[in-house]
Symmetry: C2
Subunit: 447 residues, 2 copies
């Protein structure tokens, strides 16, 4: 993309309403714009990152054998009356009346609707196991929305639901989700620690939250520092294997890690003192096993091998998609701006022309741009007439992990500059070497 | 995908509520399920087609130089009061009150919000031309929703907005949209005819609707049959070229083609009698130029080259994404079920094992499945224990354009059967030839 043809409305000033760094940088980098309290428009660069995160989640869910579908945002109140949650949910539920005076609501989660889909179409244990999920906009009418997309009212969420014949099978689905979430967050450059949590209005006993450590986190967390050494890495997992998924769960949850809701001081004090950590964390996902809480009242049953009709065992599993952008920025930034991990960066690299209009510089930039594009990468080429300092400030603010800088002086020596946003380290090298380096970083075959 | 692990709840009976063929087949093929009146869940296969259509639209919009973003579904009433449409819109607008008694609405379209984004961030003619678009869920509280996704209340729509300095530039944007829409529909296997239309509540004088001819269309259409000979094909267009875009507009709109709203009997009668056609059509898109209708009252201005502040010229351009599934099925089906065009088919081909459990058949199917997957194609492998007749009926109903049938008898002679869903023609050939044929159809390099 050429910057002169893009819509990237960066702000010079820090907006007064933004209290945390991710909110400030998302506004300043032209990623979002508030439409009304807690409700945002995703400007082109924000939308681009949102889609990248969404794509990673889809890929990892499908890899785990889960099946995507899409439920509507507007749902009938009747279904929620069946489960008893219409009255329980309180004022966070956005309640709506249509022109025929029917009670509707903007879905804050979808246990009821997915259970209705299941009971309408599935009748036999032979159709199990089954895990269905969606990535869809949700609404919670927060009394005091704040922190930008971290605690918005309209938010994007992945919510998945497993249906299993037995508790054991449902716990395997639970473990499978834990594994797929570890992979998912790592691909986004995040370390998200599964912590024993409280189930809240979803219900159930077994639940883990995934927390990203960050000073601005809303939760206080207590953990054994040994847990931050764990990496999922690129290990291969057979998601059908009960043993393999169980082993990952044990590896990642056997050490103490809890939020303040479930914190147990006595247990915590059993950790060697030098490994006890108290910090703050941002919740980016949660998994639940809740048994027959919805299937029983709503009649979601299957006939088992003995011919008996039994309610299915269920769980639900969520990832806060839109809030992940905030969490990633909280975890990865400096005082100049965002530092995107390679897995989610909106553009693979920046390309700065130090002297737009200089024939050699323009030609070299166009050639580099064409080469990067040809190998399937997407550079952001600053082809504007801005001065170099302003171009660098914008690139630092928007946080592309790599930058190629092209100027007449370097070209005379046959070199351009390759700069890492994370370390700030720069290196002079011939254009084709810079291209090969970027290609290698993103696992692309260089032409 | 293996059918035994998928969620494809096909129905044997025709649902009584479905009056038109696309609605019937979408329900029977397990693509959608009604959640409440005019509101649908998109079951896995329906969601898959929806995403393919969405991806085509994104690709063609980006090719035309338009920039994607995403606006929220819930918007503040205040913005709509500024343009005067809050009161004008009537009961089709879903009006909502939040916990703080603020007036909100579920967006039926987004001229106001995009204009607000524009006026907040753009101030100079140098930032023009600019076209921003989104693909987002909308809501219109239809008094009598019907015909499935063709006239639903919650629907998926691409809506794009151009901002230009002059009327001439805005008309180029209009033409550019017309060209990109022609390409878009053709890639979906549709012939959508641009017809002079009425602007309705959007406003403006210049507007064309795109209509797909189908007996069940909601509009009566009148056209010169010569228009159906026009094909966009794979011609290359420079979207920046005013002349090239104008030439396409003239080619595709110079012949008589109008809906009943703008029909002119006298003009129609000037066409040679043997080319006059009266038929029915389904509206799948519409483009508008409306000048300064929103920019003037909302203060969306730029400073021009002479230093004067002038309101921008705008247009908006929509494609009915969710309704396109219905339109494609209305245009492409037979009495056995859907016939997907290759561009939007949920799976590239079906793979039917005539004798699941037979070692030779199972092995051959797995090998074919692996080969197709390896070249980037997605087959749907019916690996269930159903009898052959039922497997064929399901494949015909869900309408994958190609089917490979594998049975022990054929394998003894070294052949499988390749069947075209559209023509019904079958051919026996060695498995590797069948794979090569499917690869060629979808433009993939065969291994």
């Amino acid at each position: 993309m050429r910057l002169s043809r893009y819509f990237l409305p960066v702000l010079k000033e820090t907006p007064a309403e933004a209290q945390i760094v991710s909110h400030r940088y998302m506004l300043r980098a032209g990623m979002i714009k508030q439409a009304s309290a807690g409700i945002y428009s995703w400007l082109p660069m924000g939308f681009k990152v949102l889609r990248k995160i969404e794509d990673i989640i889809h890929e990892e869910q499908i890899r785990a054998g889960h099946i995507p579908l899409l439920m509507p945002t507007i749902q009938s109140a009747d279904l929620w009356r069946e489960s008893g949650r219409y009255d329980d949910y309180g004022q966070e539920m956005l309640r709506i009346t249509d022109r025929h005076d029917r009670d509707l609501l903007f879905s804050p989660t979808a246990e009821e609707l997915i259970t209705d889909i299941f009971r309408s179409h599935v009748g036999s244990y032979k159709d199990l196991p089954l895990t269905l999920y969606q990535i869809q906009w949700k609404f919670r009418d927060e009394i005091r929305p704040r922190f930008g997309v971290m605690r918005g009212r309209e938010f994007y969420m992945k919510d998945g639901y497993n249906f299993d014949l037995t508790k054991e099978a449902a716990l395997h689905a639970y473990n499978r989700h834990l594994v797929s979430y570890l992979r998912t967050y790592e691909r986004m450059g995040l370390q998200a620690i599964p912590m024993r949590a409280d189930s809240g209005p979803i219900g159930g006993d077994d639940t883990h939250e995934f927390l990203v450590l960050a000073e601005t986190g809303e939760s206080e967390v207590f953990y054994d520092s040994a847990i931050t050494d764990l990496k999922f890495g690129d290990r291969q997992i057979d998601y059908d294997s009960v043993e393999q998924c169980q082993a990952v769960l044990e590896e990642f949850t056997s050490r103490y890690a809890r939020t303040d809701e479930t914190h147990d001081e006595a247990l915590f004090n059993e950790i060697p003192e030098d490994r006890r950590r108290v910090a703050r964390g941002i919740e980016v996902g949660q998994i639940f096993y809740f048994g027959t809480k919805y299937s029983e009242p709503m009649g979601a049953t299957v006939v088992d091998a003995d011919g008996n009709r039994v309610p299915v065992h269920m769980g639900s599993h969520g990832i806060g998609v839109s809030r992940l952008l905030g969490a990633i920025i909280e975890a990865s930034h400096d005082d100049k701006g965002i530092i995107w991990p390679e897995g989610v960066t909106p553009f693979h690299c920046g390309l700065v022309n130090l002297k737009q209009g200089d024939e050699a510089a323009d030609t070299a930039c166009q050639a580099i741009y064409a080469s990067l594009t040809a190998i399937g990468l997407e550079p952001l080429y600053d082809d504007t007439a801005e001065r170099a300092g302003a171009k660098f400030a914008t690139m630092d603010l928007i946080g592309l992990p790599w930058r190629i800088t092209v100027g007449p002086r370097g070209l005379k020596n046959g070199v351009v500059e390759l700069t890492s946003r994370r370390t700030g380290a720069s290196e002079e090298l011939p254009p084709e070497h810079a291209i090969a380096r970027i290609a290698a970083i993103y696992g692309k075959a260089s032409a």
